[in-house]
């Protein structure tokens, strides 16, 4: 699973799709971090609209990107969270790490 990444001004949007577990998180992480370090975005938007499954490895993925972004002075926005992953998100208190927005991002 490869995350699709789009840029607009200093916002980098990552469209995640499929399943996030320990296996796929490693692959997704490598792609996102390479793009973050290359573009140094002011805002990183993680769009979960296409996610069908996520376990706590997804939480680790978000926490790790939050830390990297904070070190670079950027902010994290999470959007289009499907109902199926909201339970694991709430358990982890992820809303404390970034803004959660409901929005349609047009490509």
């Amino acid at each position: 699973m490869a995350a699709r990444i789009f840029y607009e001004k200093d916002t980098m949007t990552v469209f995640l799709d499929g399943e996030i577990d320990h296996h796929s998180a490693a692959i997704i992480r490598a792609g996102i971090d390479e793009a973050i370090l290359a573009s140094r975005p002011g805002t990183l938007v993680l769009d979960f609209g296409g996610i069908t499954f996520m376990d706590s490895s997804g939480i680790g993925l978000v926490m790790g990107r939050y830390r990297l972004l904070r070190a670079l002075g950027g902010e994290l926005v999470m959007t289009n969270l499907p109902e199926s992953i909201s339970k694991v998100m709430r358990l982890a208190g992820l809303e404390k790490l970034g803004r959660i927005e409901e929005r349609e991002v047009t490509v």
């Binding site: 399943e19 577990d21 706590s56 790790g64």
Partner: protein, 144 residues
């Protein structure tokens, strides 16, 4: 209580098998007619337990993960996930939310997820011998 149906499977501790393990267990549980939320709960808990085997039990090697699931008359499913890996020296500590022995990208929420998504979680571990995690959930289905 005697089980009315059961299944067993053995797989290697390769991360690519995480998806297979959670789908296999939930496919077996489907005969209890669970709701989508119940399926998702079981899928997530199994994924956490299997990931623990891959990441913690066999950190440098590929070992075997033994999964069994039993269904009982009262519509309960009991899932056992066993490894013969390094074991957990301090189970209480390992189960604390946000505790992780690895740091970095691990959130330390595996057991917290299992406990909040299942009705019962039991952990038995002997350092140097391995760990067994038992997950139990009563399937209430659409009657709820």
């Amino acid at each position: 209580m005697k089980s009315t149906n059961e299944m067993k499977l053995t797989m290697e501790s390769r991360s690519v098998n995480e998806g297979f393990a959670r789908v296999a267990v939930t496919a077996f549980t489907a005969q209890l007619d669970p709701t989508i939320e119940e399926i998702n709960d079981i899928k997530t808990a199994v994924s956490e337990a299997v990931t623990n085997c891959i990441v913690h039990a066999y950190p440098e090697t590929v070992g075997r993960i033994y999964i069994s699931a039993s269904i009982y008359d009262n519509l309960t499913v009991r899932i056992k996930i066993r490894d013969s890996g390094v074991g957990i020296p301090d189970i209480k500590k390992a189960m604390e939310p946000l505790y992780t022995s690895l740091g970095g990208e691990r959130a330390g929420l595996g057991f917290a997820v299992m406990e909040s998504f299942m009705d019962k979680v039991r952990v038995r571990s002997v350092p140097g011998k391995g760990t067994t995690v038992t997950l139990e959930k009563k399937i209430r289905g659409r009657d709820e």
